[in-house]
């Protein structure tokens, strides 16, 4: 797993040339990003419930958020 942190660093630094090319949207171009369905987690209730089910039926958890389940179901 030694590759994960370098990969993360590379991904972070990779944003630089992308921004040089595309400059990113201007504040007045954020209309679509302001919509509910474009939020990072638009329906956190639903996400939490699904993650809880997968936590109780699979050996993997986390990634999107904390790996803990807050219960004894696994």
């Amino acid at each position: 797993m030694k590759w994960i942190l370098p990969l993360l660093a590379a991904a972070l630094s990779a944003c630089a040339p992308i921004k040089d090319n595309f400059m990113g949207p201007k504040p007045y171009e954020k209309d679509l990003m302001a919509r509910k369905e474009m939020q990072v987690d638009a329906y956190p209730f639903l996400t939490q419930a699904e993650e809880h089910i997968y936590f109780s039926k699979e050996a993997s958890s986390g990634g999107r958020g904390f790996a803990g389940g807050g219960c004894g179901c696994n």
């Binding site: 991904a11 630094s13 990003m33 990072v40 329906y43 419930a49 993997s60 990634g63 904390f66 803990g68």
Partner: protein
Amino acid sequence: MSSSFREGLARISVGLLAGALPAAGARAQSYEFGAPVRNDNFGPGFNFAQIDAALLVYQESGSRIMAMEPTLDLSVHGADGRALTLSAVADAVSGATPNGAVPSDKPQNFVTPLQPAGSSATVTSASGGSTVIKLPPTPGQVAAAALGRQYTVPANVLPEDEGFHDHRAALSGGWTQPVGGITDMGFTLGYSRESDYQAITASGHTDQTFNAGNTNVSLTLNGELDSSFPFGGIPTPLSQMNAQFKTQTSRNKSQAGFVLGLTEVMTRRWLLSLNYAFDNQSGYETDPYRIISVVDHLSGEPVQNLYEGRPTKRTSQSIYLDNKIDWGPAVTDLSVRYYTDSWGVRSSTVELDQRINVTSIAYIEPSVRWYDQKEANFFRYFLVQGQPTPAYASSDMRLGSFHALTYGAKFGLSLSKRSEIYLKAEYYHQGGDAHPAAAIGQLKQQNLFTGTNAAFAFIGYSWDFH
């Protein structure tokens, strides 16, 4: 040094700086990211509150686990970016669950504790088709179990304990606000209680938005302290299953980890998120109710049932990448995750959601999720008599190799500009190796894969108000 390279270094430095900031925190987003306002009816600088209520109904096939889970969440947002979140969850779970033993071509009997000696409670019957048995004293136990519970599993049937039922209640609260030049900082505390388990969770969060609002870096620190106090006490790992109450009544587990996140508005229509998560667990990881069969090396007949045992340390890492793309009347959400841990578990997950706005107030969202898992290094379908007993062993299929497919659809309807009701129904199917090459004798004729098939549905309501 090129400008792009310098800028790249600067980005890493900012990420590390954000990581070094004091922890605290709940979920928070800047206005540039669409805001703490999850509906776009309120702009920044407005006070408002949001209520979310949902009900989850979950049913596994084969009369296994059935669960009902209502949840309620209230969040209050201040004009200055401060936010308070309170949430409550309750669930009721019942049904049959595999006890970990392999099926046999002969009926099998299993025993568990039912009532300790000296109890004033009256026991005339046991649930789940079980019978009550009287037990002789056993030296070394805290008390001779006056009563045990015995259940019989017919030949060629997967052994399940049908007496499982539990209730859980959980509360959590969080606070977040801007601090100085930091976009958001906050914390969340949570408490969860079951009849045989307790969990206390705490997390701190900070995030920083920069680059004209197009880049957000976040760090969340998490901690959890769990206590397990199973009915019948804590069995000695890999000792023979019995109906006696055990001397040790509880064990703890602690957990600490962090999630480092980057969110980037790539274009007007494309949002990208990348998370790295690290987690470290220490303590009681074993399922106290689960057993593993010891089988004859020739016939494959179970000759003994041992309590399972798992390592007391576990370290995991995962990397998660999510893309959201707006196509106009549709939004695609595509995510991938890779997970690995010190138990040898490896998994890959791909999830695709496609939201289609059917009208200005209604949408449908079909979804599919693919999951593939490689087994933990101590996973065994069974142990073989005469061979050395390993330090750890579990036949819990959740630690085995399998794949899973979830497919479903969501339907949402805006009841007003500030309220929405939604319904989502899904089906979850696990598939794996029912006839592993290591099967012996009669086990070659049995289905040894004990994975889950389940249907579940959510109905939820969300309301924003001043």
